[in-house]
Assembly symmetry: C2
C-alpha cells in the first residue's frame, strides 16, 4: 500500500508531528491521461514551511487532510497518458509520498512532469543542480541581481543547496565570492567550491567578519537567510548594489516576529536594488540555464553535496533538519 | 557683514544648537570665474540630517567649522564669470547663508548654478515643484518605481514637499493614490490635491487603516518615512510591486536603532522590487520632467504649499521643524 505525508494543521513556530501525519494512500485506478510514478527521491525545501502558514498571499498553502506536495523524481510504472511510457524517468511535484498519480495536461503544459534527458548523471541531480535549486541559483544571480564578471558577491547559507550552486556559478563567471555558513566544516566545504572567503556566522559577529572579508563592500547579495545577514548586506552594499531575495529561513518559523534592521537606511545613498524572486519567473531562460550548467555538472566541474535520508518515514525529520542546519548541500529522501 | 550657519559637531539624535552656530562670513573678494549671490530663499530638507552623521558612506558629510550647504535661490550681485551677469536669478547649492560666493566651472558643468528661466512664477518654486522636490517626486515615481496608469500608489508623508508633488503627478498620470499624513488638517490637504484617500497615521493603526483604504493592495510605494509605513507596504504589496525609497525620516535622528519589519518576508512571494534613489541619478530625464511638470505649475493645476520662516536666524528652527511635522508642503526660509 502506498503511503503519503498528510498536512493536518497550521504549525505555531517550528512544525511538529502534530501538524502532519504519515498514512496510507487509498488505491486509485488510473483515469485517462494520468501516470503512476514510483518515486525514487523526494525533495524537502525551506519554502515548504511557507505552505504551512495562513499568512495572506504567501505561496499557496497545503490543503488540510490532503497529502503534501513537492519535488520528486521517479519512474513511470503505469500510464494512460500520451507521451509517457512505463520506464520513463520523470521529475514532478507530487512528492511527500512513495507512489504518486500525476495528471497530464498535455501539449507541453508547464505543470506536466518533466521527462528527464538520458544524461549519465544520478537521477536526483534533477532535484538539485539541474533542477529547482540550480535554476534558483542561476536565475537569482544572473537575472534578478544582474551579476557580472568582477562583481563582489555575498551569498548566505552558502553550504546549502542553492547557496553552493550560487558560489560555483559566480566563480565560473569571474566574480569574487564570499559565502557564509554555520561552522568550520561547512565553511571549509564552501571554500573548496572556490569561494574566496567564507564567514562562519557561529564564530562571532557576522557584520564584523563580513567587513573584514569584504573590505571594499559588496555589489551583489544573494539572500537565503534574511535577518542579520540581510542587515550586514545593507551595511556593506556598494553603490548600485543588487540584492536577490531568495529566502529568509531565519524567520520562517517565527513569522509573527519582526526582523530588525539597523542599516536599511543605506538603501538610499547606495541606491540598493532589492528584489524578491521565484525561479519560475524566468521560465524563458531555462534553456540558457541548462546550456550553461549541465556541462559543468556532467564534467564534474560543478560539485554537489547531498544529505540523504533513507525511507519515506524519515521525510519529516529531513524537512525539520533544514531549520537546524542539519544539511550540507541538498537535503533529499531516498525511497 | 554676511553670515552663515556653520557645522560644529555631529549630533547624537535630534540636532541641537550645540551642533551648529550662526556666525559672520569673512569678506572675500571674488576670484576669477566666481559669482556673488544675494540669497532670497533657502531650502531645508530632511536629507541634510544625513550630512550631519558619520555613518560610513552616507551622503558626503558637512565639514566641521565650515558653513553648511544646501539649495538656495537668489540674485547675482557681482560676477567675474562668463555667462553670469548682475541681476541674473540663479539656483545653487551654497545655502544656509544670506550671501554666497559660488565657483563657476563653466562649459555646462552640472555643479554650476542653474540660471532660472524667465517664467512668471515665484522664484522659490525652483526650490520645490520645479526643483529638487518636484524632480525627486517625478523621478522616483516614474523612473525608480516605473509607475503607470492604473497603478495603485501609496505615498507616505503625502503632505510634505515631495509627497504632495507625488500625489499630484500620480493623479495626472491616471493612478489611484493613497497618501498618509499626520493629522486631519494635513489629510484634508492631501485629499484636496486629488488623492483618492489619505490615512492619518496619528489616528490609529497604520496597517489597519491602509488595508481598509487599499483593499486590493498596492502596486507602488513611494517611501518618505520608512519604519511602520514601509512595513505596511510590505504587508499589502501586490505581485511585482515596486518601492521607490526616497527617505526614511522616521529614523534619521535614531540611526543606531533598528527598524523592525514583520512583513519583509513578503518580498519573495510578491516579488517586491525595492530601490533607493537620488533624483540626480536621472539627470538625463530633467528636460522630460520640466516639460511635463512646468506647464502644470504655470497653469496652477499643480498646487503647492509652503511653510516659510523669515530671516536667516530662523533657518535651524525651520530645519528642526521637518522632524516634528511642523511643515505642510515645502519648508523654506526667506531672507
Amino acid at each position: 500500500m502506498a503511503r503519503a505525508w498528510y498536512f493536518k494543521s497550521t504549525p505555531d513556530g517550528l512544525p511538529t508531528l502534530d501538524n502532519v501525519a504519515l498514512a496510507d494512500l487509498p488505491h486509485q485506478d488510473l483515469g485517462p491521461s494520468q501516470i503512476r510514478v514510483r518515486n525514487a527521491y523526494l525533495s524537502v525545501d525551506p519554502y515548504m514551511r511557507g505552505r504551512m502558514t495562513t499568512v495572506k498571499s504567501y505561496v499557496p498553502g497545503f490543503e488540510v487532510d490532503q497529502p503534501m506536495t513537492g519535488g520528486a523524481v521517479g519512474e513511470v510504472i503505469e500510464s494512460t497518458a500520451e507521451g509517457y511510457a512505463v520506464g520513463d524517468k520523470v521529475m514532478h511535484m507530487n512528492g511527500w509520498r512513495d507512489e504518486a498519480i500525476v495528471d497530464i495536461a498535455g501539449g507541453g503544459a508547464p505543470t506536466d512532469p518533466q521527462k528527464l534527458p538520458p544524461l549519465n548523471i544520478p537521477i536526483q541531480t534533477f532535484l538539485h543542480n539541474l533542477g529547482l535549486t540550480g535554476a534558483t541559483a542561476y536565475m537569482g544571480l544572473m537575472k534578478t541581481a544582474s551579476a557580472k564578471p568582477g562583481d563582489i558577491v555575498f551569498v548566505s547559507a552558502a553550504a546549502g543547496a542553492v547557496g553552493s550552486a550560487v558560489v560555483q556559478i559566480a566563480k565560473k563567471k569571474g566574480m569574487t565570492v564570499i559565502g557564509s555558513a554555520g561552522g568550520a566544516a561547512k565553511c571549509e566545504w564552501v571554500r573548496s567550491l572556490g569561494a574566496d572567503a567564507c564567514v562562519d556566522y557561529k564564530a562571532g559577529n557576522l557584520l564584523e567578519q563580513l567587513s573584514a572579508a569584504a573590505p571594499n563592500g559588496i555589489d551583489v547579495y544573494f539572500d537565503n537567510v534574511g535577518g542579520d545577514h540581510l542587515d550586514a548586506a545593507f551595511a556593506l552594499a556598494r553603490d548600485y548594489a543588487r540584492f536577490a531575495i531568495c529566502g529568509m529561513i531565519d524567520k520562517y518559523n517565527e513569522a509573527d516576529q519582526g526582523h530588525e534592521f539597523k542599516y536599511i537606511l543605506r538603501s538610499i545613498p547606495a541606491r540598493i536594488n532589492m528584489r524578491g524572486f521565484i525561479f519560475t519567473d524566468y521560465a524563458e531562460f531555462m534553456p540558457e540555464f541548462l546550456a550553461e550548467v549541465a556541462p559543468l555538472v556532467l564534467s564534474g566541474d560543478m560539485k554537489m553535496q547531498e544529505t540523504v535520508h533513507e525511507g519515506l518515514d524519515t521525510t519529516f525529520d529531513a524537512f525539520l533538519g533544514l531549520f537546524s542546519g542539519a544539511n550540507t548541500g541538498k537535503m533529499l529522501v531516498r525511497i
